[in-house]
Symmetry: C3
Subunit: 462 residues, 3 copies
Amino acid sequence: MKFKMLSLVIVGALLSTAVIPAQANNDAMMNLLKILRDKGTITAQDYELLANAAKADKEATDATEAKVEKVAKKADEAPKVSLKGGHLKIKSNDGDFSTQIGGRIMLDAAAFRSDLGDETGSEVRRARIFVKGKMYKDWDYKAQIGYAGNLISMKDMYISYNAWEPARIRFGNHHMPLGLEQQTSSKYITFMERSIVSDAQDGAGEAGRAMGITSFSHGDNWTLGLGAHLEGTSKNLAFEENEDWGVGGRVTFAPIAEKTKNIHLGAAYHYQSYENDGKELGVSFRPEAHLSPVKPFTTGNVGQLDDGLSIGLEAAGVWGPFSAQSEYTYFDMNSSNNSTKGDDPNFNTWYVYGSYFLTGESRSYSAKKGNFGRVKPKGIVGQGGSGAWELALRYSYADLENKSSFGATGNKGDVSTIGLNWYATPNIRFMANYNWTAVDNNNLTKEDVDGNVFQMRGQIDF
Amino acid sequence: MKFKMLSLVIVGALLSTAVIPAQANNDAMMNLLKILRDKGTITAQDYELLANAAKADKEATDATEAKVEKVAKKADEAPKVSLKGGHLKIKSNDGDFSTQIGGRIMLDAAAFRSDLGDETGSEVRRARIFVKGKMYKDWDYKAQIGYAGNLISMKDMYISYNAWEPARIRFGNHHMPLGLEQQTSSKYITFMERSIVSDAQDGAGEAGRAMGITSFSHGDNWTLGLGAHLEGTSKNLAFEENEDWGVGGRVTFAPIAEKTKNIHLGAAYHYQSYENDGKELGVSFRPEAHLSPVKPFTTGNVGQLDDGLSIGLEAAGVWGPFSAQSEYTYFDMNSSNNSTKGDDPNFNTWYVYGSYFLTGESRSYSAKKGNFGRVKPKGIVGQGGSGAWELALRYSYADLENKSSFGATGNKGDVSTIGLNWYATPNIRFMANYNWTAVDNNNLTKEDVDGNVFQMRGQIDF
Amino acid sequence: MKFKMLSLVIVGALLSTAVIPAQANNDAMMNLLKILRDKGTITAQDYELLANAAKADKEATDATEAKVEKVAKKADEAPKVSLKGGHLKIKSNDGDFSTQIGGRIMLDAAAFRSDLGDETGSEVRRARIFVKGKMYKDWDYKAQIGYAGNLISMKDMYISYNAWEPARIRFGNHHMPLGLEQQTSSKYITFMERSIVSDAQDGAGEAGRAMGITSFSHGDNWTLGLGAHLEGTSKNLAFEENEDWGVGGRVTFAPIAEKTKNIHLGAAYHYQSYENDGKELGVSFRPEAHLSPVKPFTTGNVGQLDDGLSIGLEAAGVWGPFSAQSEYTYFDMNSSNNSTKGDDPNFNTWYVYGSYFLTGESRSYSAKKGNFGRVKPKGIVGQGGSGAWELALRYSYADLENKSSFGATGNKGDVSTIGLNWYATPNIRFMANYNWTAVDNNNLTKEDVDGNVFQMRGQIDF
């Protein structure tokens, strides 16, 4: 009985440890041996040998166990490498650090026919390589080298602090908060080029990337961006002068923000000061076709501008495969040498477009970011599918006419575009756009001019 | 007997499951306990306790087993990171995605002595960083930034579709199918510079990278490349004109295609249209030495070219450590303002070279690619070896003389080169070249000129 | 007895194998079964079945064991990916290969007030992306693309051989051995800009990166660097001339070399030959503020220089949170067209500075490298800390006056700087500098000029 009690105690004690998960023991054998010995079924000598063997078995099992734990721990602690969707991302185990390396390639060809002559051309429209990442949980950064128009330049080059509750703070060369098209990556825009509304914003020095600081707040269905900036690295090509500066903000709201059904409303205000030191200004731009050899749209010479403000309004909606989008921007400029005449230049630009996915996908709106993102085709080429097809139409208008001390200047015109997009995979897209442009009093010959362009793009992002 | 039968049945049943591989059980113990209990060797109470202990042992073993499976699965599913040969490659588990990051550095120094004066110089001949990868199984891409001659530009910048049986389709900025030297990476060419045959091809706008589309088919011992292109990013530096275009093809065949013994035969045809809008053309190039301050070889002014065609012939062979290689290219140009005189310009260029590995390696020919690749030294510096040594001799000739409405123009000359290469590792190479150049009627002083250059290179690719 | 002996032999034999670590067996069970059978406790039939079950159990355990070994081996052999401190590094299992991808971003803004006018500006002061790595154990390389002053250029672009005992040999575009500030990465310098001593060294063509070859030896508390070079990629912008060349060396010694207490002494000598082919030379530079629109410090026209030599002396010390640093450089130039007058130009430049960490950190000196490195704040923002704060003062002086055949030329002046640095994390730093500059006979108006600048930087390296 003594032995039995003892064995019970031992077995009980061992069983209680056996509840600890995944700790291999050899309790049954050890106890059985004790019982058999106590009962005399095996000799004490046998017991000794068998108990040693059992112990050795246990040790071997424990060693395996320990090795498993070690391997599992090592695997858990190692940074995670991901190639999801072809995008390389390395993330530390605790998520406090990450590095992503990627980029984009956009390859264009175009044929122009216009009153100003014909032209055929090709270019690497955009090629970019970036490194971005997270640092010590609260910080992130992006360093992006870009190539466009046969020039290499710096694109995103910023640091962000993300741990302040009300807003993310970002500084460096980055996008100012203005314009739905401007806030949507060139990887995701519906047409090959942003509209002439964006060109006008760029020309006014307000949109695109600039050296500055922005705060970005958002809720589930709204965003608020506020920014102050000097000149961007692509505009600021000389040291020997004061830089232009601006301040502005953009607010967006999505009364409906479902996955494939949503409405986007947005407004932006921007004040821009020109430190041009007596230089006369004016802006010309292309007809929504980057290979265009001419820039028929122009403000003409608008004199020495002091400053200007712009007001932008945005609306967009997605209803399953349908979507529509529109922006309007009004520019009101102040000029020292024109202001006595009360005829400071002001400009109006707007566009409206619609798109339809023949294959049933939806444009991908983010109410938390206030912009559009990646379209994922239902069937992917390379995984048995045949991609997504999107048909789109856009009409853009710009009135850049103005009077100044130099007389009437600038012009007005429009661009109509039909576009067909094929998304072979979520990150490989082929685009074809046909544009008709009509401009009164064009920039070169000062006559009304009509032209059209057929342009194509192949793009990938990685 | 009842018990024994039962135990047999149980044991049988359990044994049958034990055939399932790698599912740790504790069947022997469980069954032994039952038998001992049934025989009365142990009490029912003992049995209960021991069976519980055995069960706990089994659970612990199962938990270990499960953890191993989990760790193994996680390891299997994670992308594979490789640094083989110092080249970083990350590949998804299913092989459908990959990313490679790499590049090359070529560091040159040269000393020139010639009738035109002496010069000493150095440069980063090529520095490149690329990201390339596979996307959704069927696609690949490459984005490569290059630095040469103190300029940064885009090199390979393309997208390929690889799932069409007859041929790989590639578009964007990439190499057109023309010329054995052109098709062989600068990492692997035998001399520091490609021959003046390549310079002539480049000058004609036919070789090197261009924005275009190519198809590439191959068998075990043949290749066929067909391409159509506009201008490349390095040539197309302005928007304001029509781009030159061309079409061409290259076919190669290897009657012998063993690892260290092979014969390569190739031919290429290229048609090039010049959209020069009335500009007079002409090309000059250096004497197979990139640091050369002068470009003594010249076609002179060949007037306004309409178009041209070139025919190239290639032959190469490898016999163990020996190899020989030769190319001939004939250029036949058509000129509007010369053509009435029946004296449109045409040019002849060719080279022949031999190489011998003192250390017994062979040049690495790929009959499936129709080009030469990486030489792997038998002994690697850093792994106990001392690298591979290669001795090479080349003779190149160019006849660029032609008559036009501007009178006799252009010149002819040759370059003889002796080269010594040391491959310290498969990707680190040191080169020394000594060139003798003799040109009649050189480009600058219009006199016959002799010169020589000693140049050295250290290169690595990663 | 026979059986017992047998069992003893068997058990003994098996136990001896059980000593082999981590080889799970089922010896106890196998042997127990044999004993029980031999004793007749179980039948031979039972034995057969139980032994089979035990064998199956063992096989299952062995399979688990094998799988663990396989997973562990695979994990051991795979390259190690690390994101330590946010720096991506991939290292082969044997340590013979590695690849690192990283870079830096420095974002500046500045406001100038001076007798020469006011200016406000911003820039990406430096943006760099690099790939570097180890190859076949003995070799390493670095390829670094840099952006500064709106230009992209090549920075480090070199190959090193590291297996020669006495010294590391490095060639390509890299830093020559000269100057403590020059040898300290721009990521780690105490003020936003290096001093005018460095500007003078750069201007003389001696410091910074050049195409050359250096040897670098070190002990625990000394370093010796020797170098010979042609022009660097940032200086050598044309092919059509001989390149300047130079040779020099730098030696450092640390009589005290503890972690937070050390003394650095250094000296450098440099000979520079100017192949200027009759060009007249002269150098101007900014007042330790890169956004400065003017370069008030100047040597004036110093005629046609033949060559020059410079002698540099360095001293620095760290005492816990305090540190001090000073450099002096003397330049002695030889000029063909001035030398007959015995008034060849020579220049003196020096600076001295002190810094104090309010939060108790120490500047990080490496006696084996002879330079300063990364400061690690005691508390890191993002990990519960609030960063490190450093206060610093510098006084710099340059005497560039000289007499030549062109009369008295050049000027002299000083810059005083107060700096405040906040190290949010080991790799994110915010800097504010206020400089006062006073120059006699400034470069533009030839009058004495006073000016000051407030400049700020945000920087990250990854």
